[in-house]
Symmetry: C2
Subunit: 196 residues, 2 copies
Amino acid sequence: MQTEDEEFNNHKKNALVKLEDAMKSHKVDTLVIPLLEKINSTSDYFTTSSCAGRIVVLQLPEIGNKKKAVFLGRWHRTVNVEEVSEALDSYNEGQVWLLTQPPIFHIGCKNIVAANELMKIGISNGFKHSGIRSISSQITVELQSTERMDIPLGSKNTLVIEKEIIPFFVDMANTSITRAQDKLTRLQKHIEEKLN
Amino acid sequence: MQTEDEEFNNHKKNALVKLEDAMKSHKVDTLVIPLLEKINSTSDYFTTSSCAGRIVVLQLPEIGNKKKAVFLGRWHRTVNVEEVSEALDSYNEGQVWLLTQPPIFHIGCKNIVAANELMKIGISNGFKHSGIRSISSQITVELQSTERMDIPLGSKNTLVIEKEIIPFFVDMANTSITRAQDKLTRLQKHIEEKLN
């Protein structure tokens, strides 16, 4: 039978192999790599997934049906009106939404004390939607910031909004993603200082 | 020194007094009262806050500045176009947003095992943003569903969207809140069955 420490170390080993593969195939946002490396250098934590925050044009059959969702556009940075308009040109089924999603991290923790410490660092640095998301086979903390937009733009295969409004939504999305990525820098600084 | 059980019982007692006061002054959504009563009748849990889900017209100085936000309209039910338009008529400063916020509950738990059980019931009944939000002086689980809309409608004291688009956004908001409240019924049913 494994001790809890051995189990944690095995989970961590597997997670690091997966991360290395993902980095090799450029599936990890470069913006978060220093933070992931810092977390993975500690003895009590390892990362299992991450996103630096993004702006998305998403087509889906109906509200909440994310399984059949299709990304028409996806950017981990600010966008321009042409990019979003171009993504909307390929909308052809169901609904279409413009989303801003905040930075998010899932982090395996050695024990509940370590999980609590990490959650508190997140919450005090603007990642206010942080919490312990699982304590079954592995203790996982989610760190999530709060900036989001969820705007329906079309329904029943038809773009309902006028194209003239897109620059306004793009401007708001860019403000939102910039703000979120500033928070990411702040989180990284505090994690550098507080975790060993 | 208090035992953990005594501490939990004291927290619960205080929370129930607050809930009773809130109910007397009609500050609790009637839709969630049966669920709150069920949770509070168990030995391992008590509710500290709740919302049945709502549609909101919110004025705020800038993105993310919720401290200075003003509710121009707030409904725990489906809305009509006239109600939303009327709320927008009183918009006079900063930005204005139309939001749909999902049902949310904060629940004190006797121990980490009880917290884990409740979190699992939430996640398996569509409350997928559930997690343990605090384990310091009190273990608190947040149960939260996923339906949301966050639509900017105006900025710099000016309504940017055309009024013609409001019926579309209202229709989407109503679909979203109806879906969320259906999930609430499902959650209630499972909590009735599984918690004692």
